[in-house]
Symmetry: C2
Subunit: 188 residues, 2 copies
DNA sequence: ATGATTTTTTAACATTTGTAAAATGTTGCC
DNA sequence: GGCAACATTTTACAAATGTTAAAAAATCAT
């Protein structure tokens, strides 16, 4: 189960030695659809890699719930504040399907970062790739209308369009469910 | 000039040895207001730390220019794609005031990342802090109206409100200049 | 399958924000 | 100072999106 990960892009930068060192701390876990694996307002002790399944991250507001991230297999998933600041997070992460995940305890991961330079650079790369993807989304919102954002999302993530509730996609795209319905109606 | 940096938060995690190793590759440069130090569609070879001054990052669209980031002293500043993917970037970064910057050649920085684990973790931390700030902005846009975003920005960045053109602030907040004018008119 | 629950769509209307253009204010330069 | 260039505000109107509620469709559990 964990061995399969070795050949994925995510770990391609690691030497065999570093892979062994890192994978030694990995454990494989399975959860049913609907499980919340990261809770807002808690310090979450694990870093996860989604091996199969779909996940979404959301925050709760007064009268709304905003979905701001989706993950498919290969995605890394963790409470930003727990991971970065060791403080309670703002996001919930919920599994939208039965899922298989690999997890590593943050305390172990942090020790590896201090001890193994390849793993430290692996962690750096993860943050950098998430960063560039997040900034892209921020800029996209400014340049593209809701309709264009929807069609690009649909083209790039066909799996998500099929399997994720439209209300979640609507809030991910930054519009209401009603507006998303109108966008979809316009193109058929 | 460069010695002053040693005591800033940004470098507090480095040992004296690592600081020396890193700072050895630093050079101090000064540019007048209006200089564009990072150009879209180019691979930019430097990583900068803004020592004094104000900068903004923007992308050009067909009939608009979107400002998506401001930096004040202490900010790190680089072409995301150049730094992360070694490919041409999408952002321009322009100095809005006469500025002093420290710069490091990316090729040297990348070598240090491979050689010095403290510097690798320093680079990891930089990406992580940018990441959490960027995601926060994305989520903020969903939860808060344009007026609230303006007032929080004004409260948190009084220096920027004073010295940056409102057209840039408007696009940073995700509204038109007209809307920003209306928001400002409503509270006086 | 059937009924209950949830999701999605549709409708009517209100509100916000955008667009374009003119008016006003500001800045810098000769 | 005074002109030119640029920035900001205001106005009137248009377009997009939000709100609320209800109908239609899809999904789920028994």
């Amino acid at each position: 189960m964990i061995e399969q990960l070795r050949d994925t892009l995510l770990f391609s930068g690691l030497s065999d030695d570093s892979w062994l060192e890192l994978s030694h701390y990995m454990a494989c876990v399975q959860y049913p659809k609907g499980t919340t694996i990261i809770h807002a307002d808690k310090v979450e002790p694990y870093f996860y890699i989604l091996q199969s399944g779909i996940a979404r991250a959301y925050s709760d507001g007064e009268n709304q719930q905003i979905t701001f991230w989706f993950g498919e297999s290969g995605a890394v998933l963790f409470s930003f504040n727990s991971y970065i600041n060791n403080s309670p997070g703002y996001e919930n992460i919920e599994l939208l399907t039965n899922s298989t995940l690999i997890r590593i305890k943050l305390t172990n991961l942090f020790l590896l970062y201090k001890q193994n330079i390849e793993i430290a650079n692996w962690g750096r790369k993860i943050a950098e790739l998430e960063l560039i993807a997040t900034e892209r989304r921020l800029i996209d919102r400014a340049f593209k209308g809701a309709a264009a954002r929807y069609h690009e999302f649909a083209a790039q993530s066909p799996e998500l369009i099929k399997r994720v509730a439209l209300k979640h996609i609507a809030s991910y795209l930054g519009v209401t469910q009603v507006t998303l319905s109108r966008i979809r109606a316009a193109h058929q």
